[in-house]
Amino acid sequence: MVCEMESDQTEYMEMEVEVLSSMWPEDMNENGKQFNIDWPGEDQDMLEEVNINEDSTIVDFKRLVELTNYSEKGSSQLTYLVKNWEYKQENAVRLLREELDYLSKQQQESELKKLEILEKYQFEEERYGGDKRPISILDEELKRYIFQEAPRKRNDVKIQDKLEIDAEYDSIKYWKQRATHLEKMLETSAQREQILTEKLQESIENLERQSSPVEELSQILKRADNFLHFVLQNAPVVIGHQDNELRYRFIYNHFPSLREEDIIGKTDVEIFTGAGVKESQDFKREVLERGIPAKREITFDTGLFGSKTFLIYVEPVFSKAGETLGVNYMGMEITDQVRKREKMAKLREEIAVQKAKETELNKTIHITEETMRAKQMLATMSHEIRSPLSGVVSMTEILSTTKLDREQHQLVNVMLSSGDLVLQLINDILDLSKVESGVMKLEATKFRPREVVKHVLQTAAASLQKILTLEGHIAEDVPVEVVGDVLRIRQILTNLISNAIKFTHEGKVGIKLYVVPGPCPDVKQGSYKRMASDHSKVLAKICKEDKCTSPSHNSLDRRGSGGCKDADGENERLMQNGEGNYSEQNGASIEDEVDDPNQQETTVWIRCDVYDTGIGIPENAIPTLFKKYMQVGADTARKYGGTGLGLAICKQLAELMGGHMTVSSKEHHGSTFTFILPYKVSPVCDSSDDNEELTEMDNHDTSSEGNDDDINSGFFQFQPRTLGSLFSSHSSGRATKFSPNGFGYNTLNKTNGFQVNSHSFPLDSNTSKETGSVEDACSVADAVETCSDPESSFKHTRNSGNPSTSGREQKINGVLDHTPCLSSPNSETTNSDQGEITEKIEKSQIQEQPDRSSECSSSKDAQISKTSLKPKILLVEDNKILVMVTRSMMKQLGHDIDIVNNGVEALRAVQRHRYDLILMDVCMPVMDGLQTTRLIRSYEESGNWDAAKDAGIDEEVFPSNSLQRSDESSTKRIPIIAMTANAISESAEECYANGMDSFVSKPVTLQKLKESLQQYLP
């Protein structure tokens, strides 16, 4: 049965192995094979196996007998066997006795019958007075009968009874006969008795002979042994007995590879070496000592049978006296099972881990999704709210500038402040969500820290409603220009300043900027000192050379007002600098020299302190200060308002920029918020460049007289009283350009739709700009028209009837005029319209020239004189906007360009002037860019305009002297760059096919333009 099952299993395994071999590891396969090999031999060689099995039992017989005699278990086994035998014997006795009982019963019955008969005889004897002796004899016999057993007597008796009736009844003979007969009967009875006694004797003897149990026991034992062998012959089982020294006394092993003498009398350790042997020995010893049976799984790795795991059962064997004689042990090889189990466990573990991970992941995903959704929602909502809200606020703002009575004004103001607050809150939320979601991108732009500080303070001062002094200190070593995200830095500063102002009721609020040597503290001292000494040296030199070249803000009285009360080490230097009264240029040079030593290190850490003399922050509130929606206390929010987001944003922004923000505060004395940020110092920083740039930049938003302060002064102050006067001097030049009326006008017109004037934003009519403005052009054109000046004919050069457009046209022509080449007289001009125009242009140029020169600065004149050296560029473009944009771009690239509006005009221009480059729109009215290019190329090749004439261009366009010109210049091919709108009709191939050299796709960008210009201009 077992074997069959095993075979089934094996077959199953085999199949599995065959089909799913890839799924199982190699070792599994091996196992399968092991089984496979084992199996077929099994069925055939049953006998052999049995023989082997007998061999496999290695017994120390003496010991076994001893064991059976002395060990409790052995004796109990014997007792059991004896008991069994005794029971059997008893059973036999019982059976015999039962038989005996039965016999005696029968005898009694027959006796009874006999008695009956005898009674009958007695009766007869009484009648005849018969002999008493036989009766007595009979009696005697009867008595004997009773105590004797004679199983088969009954039949005999009956037969004898029948025999009785032979002789004559009641005769002597009869009686004699009867007497002899009875005598015979007696004899046989005696004989039978004898036989029975013998039999009994024999039986007893037999019994005695049988009573020795050894043979039977040994038979039983042999049977048990055979049975065990049968059962165990294939089981991967080891059975053994070891004495109390753990020496093997008996071992049964299915796969014996050791001979008897190798095992018997030796311990595990002596037989095997390798992992697990010691453990099993120890385990056995433990069982031996504790006297309690135990099971254990032990993995062996021996040279003898490799790596195998056994489940070992060890039980102690006790003597009758209760002392341990040794241990029985039984081991079953469970390597495969263990392996499977382990694999299962591993799989289960993996599955569990996987599942856990999955759930975790799901959770995370869920949470993330939720968070993202929430954030997105928040951001979207905030954004959605903001757009209309900013509309409301700005409209309210505008409303507040209109004529309102006092009550209305108040209402509007409330609206404004509420709107501002909500807007601020939404902006804050958006900023936060941006920072948190990592969307916030930082920009790296050059900016001037001094300017930023000044602007922030200025802005704060403008809306200041308290009597506070706002001041700014910028240490000398702070570079003039650094690179960073100025918007964000400004945001932080503004936030901190407005916070400071909010919580300060009297005293001052200020910003201090100074360079710190980065986050590394030991560098600090050294470099700092070095810089300081350098600085003072330079300073001394400056003081000597140049005491005072420009008005300085750092006048002594200003410092005396207590602005420069720096407690830091920077203080000293600041004071020195203040005394130095250095000029702007010198300031810059100081900067350079100071920076030089650490030029290689382009990052500078600037510390910014925003301090106030306000209510301060209680110590316990400081830890939560930078947390979202946290304010110092509930009453703070009530009293001062605010969202509690500002500081959180500031801190996050500071950290985003790679810096950090801290706060120190003393309640009722004020707080100082400090943030330290790294900035890149722009390497190109030589002073002359700087100055140019500065003036340029400052022209942007400040009037020139205010410039010097911004760039290099280390101190600003906005006193509450002097606010107005200070401000007027600082107000930007641009502000004055825009009159409030213009603005109002504009808003009024906004709804008017497509009106000519609707586009006109207030412009500075005084600015002497070459490009001019549309409005300027308009007015000029209008003026020209109303005066009926001969030049009004200009208007008709283009088909557009719009006066302002024609004004622009005039402008454009004006640009054309500026080129000196144009001034070369073109006397051959025919009487056609075009010729007239050219003439007029010349005239106008002559008229305009002095005007312009008077308007323009001297540098402009210089530029004009220089233009001859510059490459001449022609732009052929019909779209006015593109013209304007391109011209502006070219200007920024340092080129003045001539402009024409279509191909025909382009041909004319080319004919008159030598151009170094033509930018040609492809799609134009009158004549497109492709044809124009073809005609120009044909002219370049042939030296005449015949092709153009063939194409139907008016002959008058080409003056006779064109031939002359061609002589000198036809050799050179003008680079023509197409400007394409990227449409299918304007493919690059077509451009090239028509003789163009390159193309720029629209919309034209500065970069694109620059690149293509670099390609063709030296």
């Binding site: 900013s390 403008a462 930007s732 906004k750 629209k1002």
Partner: protein
Amino acid sequence: MEVGQLQRSFVEYMASLFREGFLDAQFSQLQQLQDDSNPDFVVEVVSLFFEDSERLLNDLTMALDQPNVDFKQVDAHVHQLKGSSSSVGAQRVKNCCAPFRNCCEEQNTETCLRCLQQIKQEYLLVKNKLQTLFELEQQIVAAGGAIPMLQ
């Protein structure tokens, strides 16, 4: 309203214009072109764009109103409009031009009219937006602040 606030609004507003696709990088180009020698460049160009676009839109309306529509003419106008809008970075207007030109090619008056309607709408939108932007700019200038630049 304080200058900082105004500046912030300005930046946000501008950013929103870019984000919502009213404007594209070309507008930034314009802003970069504006310098002290040409301080009102953007306003000028945009004004010119308004003027030009209005003329073109009027022309288009007229052209499509004719019993026999000259699609070549219409196409030329749309091309002009496309050039103008792309030059100032009025992205959404520009984006309407391509389908419009397709309609012209198909000579489908009805779809052309629809395109015109759409383009008009987009134009008005961007015009309003830009005007608001310039107003903000002026407010900032009036309040003494500098116009923040958007990268």
